[in-house]
């Protein structure tokens, strides 16, 4: 019995110690059995943008990630690219230690990566033009009116080829390949165009250096973006010739041309700065909004939602697929036009969505003048967390120089339509006495 008592006492103490867990949450019967005071929410629209500015010239056509080919709604944009020289020599057999010149240059294959298009467009046609080798950064749309009128090489109906079995036209050798099988919208495609000897026109004196231009047309909504070397998907141009192999003529690809220059010319001018804010266009424009968050909010309140509201001056025009994506970055250092975005751990690399403490994405549809409302809650909370950080946001297009359109937004100078921060916050709760 003595042992039994001890055991029971030990069990009792162990049980009591095991009870050292808490569950203290009870439904509040307020106000009788709740702490004094109540949490509240304040929702207000603050016109707290102290200064706003727009800057031009961030991305020019020759450094863009895409070449815009547009032929709709009065917009006309034409990709142009210059391909470097390719020596007309090749080791005919893999065991050969010397190279031979081709008997003849027979053909060439041009691959264009279309990264953006309107899938509703029908009868999309790509026309290839030969351009003068002098095409460069200073070449304008008007400068190329002649070549684009009289130097058509050939036209390919992309939709027709894509509709063929396997997307291959066995007669011409043209093909259309869907490059991203995971993309259910089947937007990205590679257009492969075969050129015969005359169309390819290998000029020995220039070692095959060539310049081409592209125009597109469609029943409607003719607007596509063709990848560039900068975007990692530039045009690929491969030369083919016939070579003598011990008395037998054999076909060989003797070189792939290096892209010397990718760009586009258009009939739209560069965005101009006025009293409004400008975003996008070619060359690309950016806008910066600088805020002065009231100290009462910055230091004491908890922001639970913050929405940046921007009102377009005029609707965007163009193909439906040309809706503009904008990125709103939190500014890390405000140096005016040379401002840099806030980056993770100061890495200097601008983050991409969905890291909403640094950047958020907005979309501006074609033809809409609806207010652009973008949630910037985490960025405003970041200003609260680091009160020394610039309270500024940078608005830019994604990708820059990705559409001909540019967005013109009302600035603080337009009192009735100025940008604003719609903010919802919980004021500091007073626990009271001492409740």
């Amino acid at each position: 019995m003595r042992l039994g008592r001890r055991t029971l006492f030990a069990l009792g103490i162990a049980g009591a110690l095991a009870a050292c867990t808490e569950d203290a949450t009870a439904p509040g019967k307020c106000p009788a059995f709740c702490p004094g005071g109540q949490l509240s929410v304040v929702d207000t629209i603050l016109n707290i943008i102290s200064r706003d500015s727009s800057y031009l010239g961030y991305v020019v056509p020759e450094s863009a990630s895409v070449m815009l080919a547009v032929n709709t709604a009065g917009l006309d944009s034409r990709p142009v690219f210059v391909l470097g020289p390719v020596p007309n020599r090749v080791a005919v057999l893999s065991t050969d230690t010397t190279t031979d010149t081709s008997v003849s240059v027979d053909s060439a294959i041009l691959s264009l990566n279309i990264t953006h298009r309107d899938t509703v467009a029908t009868n999309l046609r790509v026309s290839l033009y030969r351009l003068p080798l002098s095409v460069g950064p200073t070449t304008t749309f008007a400068d190329l009116t002649g070549p684009f009128t009289d130097s058509l090489i050939r036209t390919m109906n992309v939709d027709s080829v894509a509709a063929l079995p396997g997307g291959v036209d066995s007669a011409t050798g043209d093909s259309v390949i869907f490059t991203d099988l995971t993309d259910s919208s089947r937007v990205p495609i590679r257009v492969v165009m075969h050129l015969d000897a005359a169309q390819a026109n290998y000029v020995e004196a220039d070692s095959g250096r060539s310049a081409f231009g592209v125009r597109i047309s469609a029943d409607s909504l003719a607007s596509v973006a063709i990848g560039t070397v900068t975007g990692g998907a530039g045009p690929i141009f491969t030369w083919w010739g016939s070579f003598d192999s011990s008395g037998t003529t054999v076909p060989r690809a003797f070189g792939t041309a290096i892209n010397e220059f990718n760009s586009f010319v258009s009939n739209t001018g560069a965005p101009t700065l006025d009293s409004n804010l400008v975003v996008g266009g070619v060359p690309a424009a950016r806008s910066i909004l600088r805020f002065a968050l009231p100290r009462a909010i910055r230091d004491s309140a908890q922001v639970v939602r913050a929405t940046l509201t921007l009102i377009p001056v005029a609707p965007l025009t163009g193909a439906t697929s040309d809706s503009m994506l904008v990125l709103i970055y939190r500014v890390g250092s405000d140096f005016g036009a040379k401002s840099v975005c806030a980056s993770v751990s100061g890495s200097g690399v601008c983050p991409f969505p969905p890291d909403s403490a640094y950047v958020v994405e907005g979309s501006v549809p074609i033809g809409s003048t609806d207010t652009l409302a973008t949630e910037v809650t985490e960025m405003v909370r970041a200003w609260q967390a680091d009160t020394t950080a610039p309270q500024a946001l940078m608005i830019r297009q994604l990708p820059e120089a990705g559409t001909l359109n540019f967005l013109r937004l009302y600035s603080t100078r337009a009192t009735a339509f100025r940008p604003a921060l719609h903010i919802t916050y919980v004021p500091r709760f007073s626990f009271g006495n001492p409740r």
Binding site: F9, A19, D23, T25, P27, K29, Q38, L39, P434
Partner: protein, 366 residues
């Protein structure tokens, strides 16, 4: 008696696996829930033995009964149900509310001290509701919580003039802190970020206590005690956010040793908590209890009741408790483990609490 102990222990072990809290809802709107300055031995007699118990912190004069260095600690697990008439919830908590150390220094003088919980200030209230933001109704849940207590650090002394008379006095420093949280959770977490505010509230104050213990006739002891505290000052982030007067407590008790194996006691006390803030009530508390059997393995029973200082409405909330317990002496009396159970019921303002507390006390006399 041998049957009672297993029943108590089995009940303790069983209940420990599931869930209540001493931190009464009735303290949320006020300064808190007043602590119980009784050791487990005294607690299980309803608190009636506390004025005569040297390991309790109620009456300093009781230190005079301590003949050797003694340290005692109290721990309890509390399982509580709260019913506001429409909803009921089960809560649980564990507390370590008291530690006392005392020993004689010669010449009839005994010095002691330790800490005990003066006011329990832990709660977590959940309030669901709907607010209209930006023209839309948003479901929200507010959590208002406090985790902490006001602690009483006591330095006391008792002088035993004779076997029939002891007087005691104590100096009390009120200290402690609570972590306060105010959280608003939004059901629409895609649009709204939850708001969380955390503050640390600290407390300070001082108090003074006096007591006298007399044995006018053999087997009968009477005690009188009083305590007065200055005020409770609360600070958040270094800034004072409240200052509340604290009550003066007056009380008396009587203990009768009917036989060596039957000891009975009763006590009555009054505190003018109404000085602390508007709406607070003065309280009167009573307790009766007894200890039966051999000192090495007694059975204790007790009843207590009274009022609570903080509540809503024109009348003070009330409480009534029933307790039982026992003790186990080991190592030639150098160690004592006391076990107990108390069922307490509080009601007022439409709220009812039913509380089961399981108590463990350890006393060491090296």
């Amino acid at each position: 008696m041998r049957r009672v102990v297993p029943v108590l222990l089995v009940a303790l072990v069983t209940a420990a696996a599931g869930a209540a809290a001493q931190d009464s809802q009735f303290g949320i709107r006020g300064l808190g829930s007043p602590g119980n300055f009784a050791s487990v031995r005294a607690w299980t007699t309803g608190g009636a033995f506390a004025p005569f118990d040297g390991t309790s912190a109620l009456a300093d004069a009781a230190l005079g009964d301590i003949t050797r260095l003694t340290a005692a600690a109290t721990e309890f697990a509390s399982y509580r149900s709260v019913d506001d008439g429409t909803t009921s919830s089960a809560l649980r908590s564990a507390r370590f509310p008291m530690l006392t150390v005392a020993g004689p220094v010669g010449g009839g003088l005994v010095i002691g001290g330790g800490f005990s919980t003066f006011l329990y200030r832990s709660y977590d209230v959940e309030v669901p509701s709907t607010v209209v933001i930006r023209g839309d109704s948003q479901a929200i849940v507010d959590h208002l919580s406090s985790n902490g207590a006001v602690t009483d650090l006591r330095l006391a002394a008792a002088w035993r003039f004779s076997p029939r008379l002891s007087v005691g006095a104590g100096f009390h420093i009120l200290t402690g802190s609570s972590t306060l949280n105010a959280i608003r959770l939004f059901a629409d977490s895609a649009q709204y970020v939850n708001a969380t505010q955390t503050d640390q509230e600290s407390y300070d104050g001082v108090g003074f206590s006096l007591s006298v213990l007399a044995a006018p006739i053999p087997g009968l002891r009477v005690a009188a005690f009083m305590r007065t505290d200055s005020r409770l000052r609360s600070e958040i982030a270094g800034f004072q956010n409240a200052e509340n007067d604290l009550p003066t407590t007056l009380g008396g008790a009587i203990q009768w040793s009917v036989t060596p194996e039957v000891r009975l006691a009763g006590s009555l006390s009054h505190a003018d908590w109404s000085v602390s803030e508007a709406g607070a009530f003065n309280t009167t508390s009573w307790a009766v209890g007894g200890e039966f059997g051999r000192a090495a393995f007694p059975v204790r029973l007790g009843l207590r009741g009274g009022q609570l200082p903080f509540g809503t409405g024109p009348a003070a909330p009330t409480e009534f408790g029933v307790s039982a317990g026992t003790g186990f002496v080991f190592s030639q009396g150098r160690g004592i483990v006391d076990l107990g159970i108390e069922h307490l019921r509080r009601s007022g303002g439409g709220l009812t609490e039913a509380d089961w507390s399981f108590l463990v006390g350890i006393t060491v006399r090296p």
